[in-house]
């Protein structure tokens, strides 16, 4: 199949040591910390109370609104607390978390139905995917049911299954494709059926030869599922760049890939869809790669959601040296964790502990306008100009240079010889603009409320005056009557 090239991109060292390590099941932890927000959109609302006994897969919190996802119990046990616990987020802020003390039984909830998904229509499949709490497991965590429903409003010709995994260290998708190819193909075909798409392309980077082979064998049985090998270049796994590579078309600004007739889903999501539709089981665990130079032994684990990162590291033998940074995700777009007392959530593709040598970021120097950032940007932006404007507070200027088209992939920061934290400038600018928008919205609301109050007071004043005038008129009329009567 003809492939196209996307601009820019970088080649970080892949560090795929865990690629040879088969998926291990993590022994059940004593406590699970399940946040109600593990997805893009509105947080889920808790249904259980402290003291409730729950079974594995039982609904803990239901979704709120159109863009949301429910949360299920990752194992059986008792709800011992529902409180704010640190979220796996660089801010260190808390998130409402359901804390479950596991009873060791790991017993599934009753009533899980196994059905033939190919007898269901799009809405039924999406409803089950939504009810199972499935979100984009590549890390974006967008509710998958919403994406599958796009098949109703857009004509979809191609489903792209993202097996890119371009981030260094991460190998969870690689192992999934190596070890469970048949289940994956099944999940892919279910999605194809839901989207009513004509074909599925499984895009796998060329640094995963075993996965390519196994998936090819499994896909061979079906005409409409093909494996496509793509060059390994970061950020190949980004949706915009993946679509461009496979179709030669760019997703127009402000539009979706569905506008091109294409939907992209991660391999992990396909697996979760299969589990939900064939076995009726909601999303309660995921594959996580543990890696980094500070970890004694890198490996891939199947982890129940809500397991603390500290327990995951402990299982892997702890640190062999003091890590410089602990990240959730890969080194390019992963999030720095404030400490390890945070839970694994739906979007945790990996937890890596990097040494100072691997981080290799020096003190920032002034920009020398070398243009390396421009050459590496896959979106055709001018990072040096955007960062200079973000730094001096000229946020609208940064937007004019294309800030809102930035996917925050980090290629520019990766190559900058002056080690300038370009992406943090963009994140700051985007956040500041959002805060100002909220501020302005509040100001507009306030103005409306103030106007309403002024009008209310004026109306009251008017009513008072009318009432006074009426009473005066009545008094006059009465006086006249009395005068007429006495006359």
């Amino acid at each position: 199949m003809k492939l196209f090239r996307f601009r820019g991109g970088v080649h970080p060292e892949s560090h795929k040591e865990a690629g040879d390590k088969a998926i291990e099941v993590l022994p059940l932890p004593a406590k699970l910390y399940v946040p109600v927000q593990q997805h893009i959109g509105a947080p889920a609302e808790t249904e259980v109370q402290i003291g409730n006994k729950v079974l594995k897969g039982q609904l803990l919190a239901h979704s709120q609104g159109a863009i949301s996802a429910p949360i299920h119990a990752p194992s059986s046990g008792t709800v011992i607390d529902i409180t704010e616990h640190t979220a796996p987020h660089p801010s260190g802020l808390g998130v409402r978390t359901v804390i479950i003390e596991t009873d060791g039984e790991d017993s599934w909830v009753d009533g899980l139905k196994t059905i033939n998904p190919f007898e269901l229509n799009t809405e039924e499949i999406s409803a089950r995917v939504g009810a199972a709490g499935i979100v984009g497991l590549g890390g974006a965590t967008f509710p998958s049911a919403v994406k599958l429903n796009l098949g109703l409003t857009y004509p979809i010709s191609t489903l792209i299954i993202n097996g890119g995994e371009c981030e260094p260290y991460l190998t969870c998708d690689d192992r999934l494709m190596q070890e469970r190819p048949d289940e994956l193909i099944d999940g892919i075909r279910i999605m194809l059926h839901a989207l009513k798409a004509k074909q599925a392309l499984i895009a796998i980077e060329d640094n995963k030869p075993t996965a390519i082979e196994r998936m090819k064998v499994a896909a061979n049985l079906f005409d409409n599922v093909t494996v496509t090998v793509v060059p390994s270049r970061y950020p190949m796994g980004s949706e915009k760049q993946m679509v461009q590579t496979l179709t030669g078309l760019e997703i127009p600004a402000g539009k979706l890939s569905a506008d091109l007739g294409v939907i992209v889903h991660n391999v992990g999501t396909a697996f979760a869809v299969r589990t939900a539709l064939r076995q009726g089981r909601p999303l309660v665990s995921r594959i996580v790669t543990v890696g980094g130079g500070a970890i004694s032994s890198a490996r891939n684990l199947e982890v129940p959601l809500g397991t603390l990162v500290s327990e995951v590291f402990e299982h892997c033998g702890g640190f062999n040296e003091d890590p410089a940074r602990i990240l959730m995700g890969g080194p390019m777009m992963g999030q720095l964790l404030p400490h390890t007392n945070v839970p694994i959530v739906k979007g945790s593709s990996g937890v890596i502990a990097l040494t100072k040598k691997e981080v290799a970021i020096n003190q920032a120097r002034p920009c020398i306008r070398c243009g390396s950032c421009i050459a590496s940007c896959p979106c055709g932006l001018l990072p040096l100009e955007m960062a200079a404007r973000a730094k001096s507070g000229e946020l609208q200027g940064a937007v004019d240079y294309g800030l809102m088209d930035c996917i925050s992939c980090g290629s520019c920061s990766y190559v900058c010889p002056s080690h300038i934290p370009l992406v943090q400038y963009f994140n700051y600018a985007k956040g500041e603009l959002a805060a100002r928008r909220r501020h302005k919205q509040k100001a507009d609301e306030t103005r409306k409320l103030a106007d309403i109050k002024i009008q209310r007071l004026e109306k009251e004043e008017q009513a008072k005056q009318e009432a006074a005038a009426r009473r005066k008129a009545e008094r006059e009329a009465k006086k006249k009557q009395q005068e007429a009567a006495s006359a």
Partner: protein, 176 residues
């Protein structure tokens, strides 16, 4: 030499006349800046700036008779924006470094006197005589007018806490 003097003088005269004519016939009548400034102010007409509303405050700012730091609900951000718009430098050190805050009624000490909701510019307090009052957080602008009139001091300002939804990245802290 005479020619040089004559020509330069004529040039100066001619340009001066053109400037005078332009100043008269191309003059901008109304000052649009007052309208722009008023749009920037919170619009809650709370009166904390000392002016009877946001419109008079905007006029005073445009004239230059009021300081850009006059608006507490607008905070430091507004002061900086006004300073930028008017092209003045201002000393922001006097501004309250308080984070934005919202009022809340401490229900155990409220006596239902109704003084607070009468002064609230956005009708954010709901209550009736002898009934416990409550503040609608979404409508509260943090102008503190209610706190000042409450006889039992049951109305307090609470800083708005940052949540995961409202948190944003700070600028990178660099030596450069």
């Amino acid at each position: 030499m005479i020619i040089a003097i004559m020509s330069l003088s004529l040039l100066g005269l001619g340009l001066g006349v053109m400037l005078g004519l332009a100043g008269r016939y191309l003059k901008v009548e109304q000052d649009p800046i007052v309208i722009e400034i008023e749009a920037m102010l919170p619009g809650s007409q709370c009166g904390q700036c000392g002016f009877p509303g946001c419109a008079p405050a905007a006029e005073a700012l445009a004239e230059g008779s009021a300081s850009v730091t006059l608006c507490p609900p607008g905070g430091r951000l507004l002061a900086e924006e006004l300073a930028a718009k008017l092209g003045v430098t201002a000393d922001f050190s006097g501004m309250d470094e308080d984070e934005p805050s919202l009022a809340a009624v401490s229900e155990s000490t409220c006596i239902g006197c109704t003084r607070c909701f009468k002064v609230c510019p956005t009708d954010a307090i709901m209550g009736a005589p002898k009934q416990i009052h409550t503040v609608f957080k979404e409508a509260c602008t943090g102008c503190k007018a209610c706190v000042e009139v409450c006889p039992t001091e049951c109305l307090q300002m609470h800083p708005i806490k940052v949540t995961l939804g409202t948190w944003s990245w700070p600028k990178p802290a660099l030596a450069a």
